[in-house]
């Protein structure tokens, strides 16, 4: 790929030795020759396999849990329920003061999505663990579920998560994350055209080659060492310490080799219960998601639904943009309250628009909890924004790149969230892409720049 150095040359010195050089990736040879050691390449004598008994229902009361048959099976070492978890209810981002705790490590009195973990079994082999999962008897009373984000916000919808009291995350007293900048109604009134569209997406899997998992080894000195493929060691350690209600210094996380992350391994999901199981059994414990668990139980990218209403002038200037956005968090918060704020902050895209209003809702439904994924809070928003720009260009008969040039943010422009733009380069990437692909951009835009006065 070509590096174009003449642009922004006056903002850059290129007199470096070790940066700007393509030295070989340190883990590349190990990966392609199969020599890299992942957590699952570790083997310990007496290691137990942990498997979860999962809810077959989307939303149900738990009436009774009977583990007696499973416990009697040869090779089953221990069965865990919520009663074994010292501090069972948590939320990952409590470490940065996101409240409330809303998710059980093991379900207590009800299940809120199909696949939710209710009982953990620990057995001498994976085959025995699978059989023991089948031997656990749980009686449920099904409750009406709600699956759709807008249905979930209607009065009378089934309440998904009692810890929130509503089917939405509350942002400082508001039912959504708000952005208010200028006056969109005034903008619409002055506009030559109003373009109102709906965009949506379905959940997406991170699809790592290596599924989520860990091994916890009890040490002779009473400490617990966890070999994990987490993307965030201290998120995991701190949350696990709180869940186990144990001194943090008893826990140790070793990781750093991951067979694909993409945000799917930022949740704290296999380690706390594996730590607990190893502590209670005094045996090494392995908890690895199957491919089916990875695809249907682990957090996907949130589905989103985005309504965009734009006020547009005949010359292409966008004078107002109103966004109503729904992030499908599923049954629990995980990272979605943060992702929804990030989605709101991203609006109205890299354009300078004088009137902007955003209502970004983080909605609970009886679905697999969603969480972080590459482009968190932005990917689906960009899809909606950039298709919307194409529609506007077609409507007013303007080249879609010229429309973006006209509205592109430049240094010094105010953003809807109140910051002042600096270091912008949208104009320049469009100019270079146009040259690369022979896009018929009007020559007058080739001399523009993102700098002040450009």
């Amino acid at each position: 790929m070509e590096h174009i150095r003449k642009i922004f040359a006056d903002e850059r010195s290129d007199d470096h030795n070790a940066v700007g050089v393509s030295i070989e990736r340190s883990d590349g040879l190990g990966h392609v020759t199969g020599k890299t050691q992942f957590y699952a390449d570790r083997h310990y004598p007496g290691m137990l396999t942990l498997k979860m008994v999962r809810s077959p229902h989307h939303h149900a009361k738990i009436l009774n849990v009977d583990t007696s048959a499973a416990e009697k099976m040869p090779g089953v070492v221990r069965v865990l329920t919520h009663a074994d978890v010292p501090s069972n209810i948590y939320t990952i981002l409590r470490l940065i003061q996101v409240e409330p705790n809303d998710e059980p490590v093991l379900a207590v009195d009800k299940v809120r999505f199909k696949g939710e973990a209710v009982v953990a079994v620990l057995a001498e082999s994976e085959a025995i663990a699978r059989d023991a999962v089948d031997a656990v008897r749980i009686d449920y009373e099904e409750l009406p579920p709600v699956f759709d984000v807008e249905e979930a916000l209607k009065p009378g919808a089934p309440l998904v998560n009692e810890y929130h009291g509503n089917n939405y995350f509350t942002y400082e007293g508001h039912h959504c994350r708000r952005v208010r900048y200028g006056d969109v109604e005034k903008g619409f009134a002055a506009a030559d055209h109003v373009v109102e569209e709906r965009y949506s997406s379905a959940p997406i899997e991170h699809a790592p080659v290596e599924t989520t998992g860990c091994i916890v080894v009890p040490e002779a000195n009473g400490r617990l060492t966890c070999y994990s493929n987490t993307q965030a060691l201290f998120f995991t350690l701190d949350n696990a310490g709180l869940i186990l209600n144990t001194p943090f210094q008893r826990l140790r996380l070793i990781g750093g080799t991951v067979g694909g992350g993409f945000g799917g391994k930022v949740d704290v999901i296999t380690e706390p219960v594996a730590f607990l199981a190893a502590d209670l059994t005094k045996r090494p414990v392995k908890f690895s998601y199957s491919r089916e668990e990875e695809m249907q139980v682990s957090s996907p990218r949130a589905a989103e639904r985005i309504y965009i209403k734009d006020g547009v002038m005949n010359d292409g200037r966008i004078v107002a943009r109103q966004i109503r956005l729904y992030v499908d968090a599923g049954a629990y918060s995980r990272h979605s309250p943060y992702g929804t704020t990030k989605a709101a902050a991203h609006m109205p895209g890299p354009y300078t628009i004088p009137n902007v209003q955003v209502d970004a809702h983080c909605v609970y439904a009886n679905r697999t909890p969603s969480s972080a994924m590459r482009g968190f809070g932005v990917t689906i928003g960009d899809f909606a924004l950039e298709v919307q720009m194409d529609k506007i260009a077609r409507l007013i008969g303007m080249d879609p790149m010229a429309l973006r040039m006209l509205n592109a943010y430049r240094d010094g422009d105010a953003k809807a969230h109140g910051e002042t733009t600096k270091g912008a380069a949208l104009v320049e990437v469009m100019q270079e892409a146009a040259k690369l692909a022979d896009w018929p951009l009007d020559g007058k835009y080739l001399s523009e720049s993102s700098g002040k006065g450009g």
């Binding site: 903002e11 900048y181 569209e197 699809a207 996380l253 895209g349 950039e386 194409d390 892409a433």
Partner: protein, 339 residues
């Protein structure tokens, strides 16, 4: 029935990091007896090359070759705190922490070298090849190895440094959403060309031509690796992937790679790319986060190219052949349009 071609465009930006939590990361740097610089972290390399880039940043700051730097990471017993590897934050946040730690270590290195050479530390520079010499007088020099040995066995000094990155935490204003959600922003523009089979609704991506502005390409080949990998993921998001094909209905969810489809190497288009660098004033050597963004711009560019080719808008991801075909038939008056 025919195969029709179209082109589409998108332009995006992407925020570096997650300021809403302050987004801290720390680094420690120390020299061994023989002048190997060990960078101690708790950060995770996801396979994107984090350890390699951190090696380069430390080497550049101290002024030694990259092979004199070791990264010791991902053990909570030894490594200082890192928020984690996500939010396109690693290069920027951890890189900044290493620059700070390496500068502190470098100052000690230079003091010891100055004592050994009997000159002022401010008159010295490291040559990036393993030696320290007086500015303008390359022969008046001492090797980094000798300097480290002298620090350990003669001067009783630790060549070490502490560094951290933390943004001032931003709390959004509840009424207006006034906030500082990120530090710097990377940019991308993608032009997609597609061919749509009007009989089956299948979309073939012929080419993706993009320009990326990344602040500073600290390791250009690894930036390209992110761009190609991210574009591949973008194509997959646009045309193939979902865990719930009938969302919000939860039925028929795939459970393995026979059912969860993604494009293979044979489905990849021609890639064309150029890289621009407008250094971020707060980035390590100007670098911004680029990892996540590379998946974003291809998606709307492909959607817009499909409209250009066959006049069908599919505003719900993924854009499956079924949705495209229903759109084509609806345009012909043969079917009600799909969502």
């Amino acid at each position: 029935m025919a195969r029709k071609r179209g082109r589409g465009l998108s332009a995006v930006n992407y925020p570096t990091g997650m300021n809403l939590g302050g987004d801290p990361s720390q680094a420690l740097v120390h020299a061994t007896t023989t002048g190997t610089f060990v960078v101690t972290l708790s950060s995770v390399d996801l396979g994107q090359g984090l350890k390699t880039v951190m090696t380069q940043i430390c080497a550049e700051t101290i002024g030694v070759p990259p092979d004199m730097v070791l990264i010791d990471t991902a053990d909570t017993d030894t490594g200082p705190h890192c928020m984690g590897t996500f939010a396109s934050r690693g290069t920027h946040r951890i890189g900044n922490a290493i620059v700070m730690a390496a500068n502190e270590a470098r100052a000690v290195l230079m003091e010891v070298a100055a004592d050994e050479l009997e000159v002022n530390a401010t008159d010295l520079e490291a040559d990036g090849k393993g030696a320290i010499h007086v500015k303008g007088a390359p022969t008046k020099s001492i090797s980094v190895i000798e300097t480290a040995l002298a620090a350990h066995f003669k001067h009783g000094k630790t060549i070490s440094g502490r560094g951290m990155f933390m943004a001032e935490r931003s709390f959004p204003e509840p009424e207006t959403g006034k906030m500082r959600p990120a530090t710097c922003y990377a940019h991308a523009c993608t032009i997609a060309e597609v061919e749509v089979d009007t009989e089956t609704g299948e979309v073939e991506v012929l080419s993706l031509k993009s320009a990326y502005e990344v602040g500073r390409a600290l390791n250009p080949k690894m930036v390209e690796q992110q761009i190609i990998g991210g574009a591949w993921m973008g194509i997959s998001h646009a045309l193939y992937e979902t865990t719930e094909p009938y969302y919000p209905d939860r039925a028929h969810g795939p459970v393995d790679f026979n059912e969860y489809l993604m494009p293979g190497p044979g489905d990849l288009p021609e890639f064309g790319g150029v890289i621009l660098e407008r250094p971020a004033s707060d980035g390590p050597y100007g670098a911004k986060g680029v990892g996540e963004m590379t998946a974003n711009s291809p998606i709307p560019a492909i959607a817009n190219a499909i409209f250009d080719a066959v006049g069908v808008r599919v505003d719900s991801l993924p854009i499956t052949p079924e949705k495209v075909l229903r759109g084509i038939l609806a345009n012909e008056g043969a079917l009600e349009p799909a969502e």
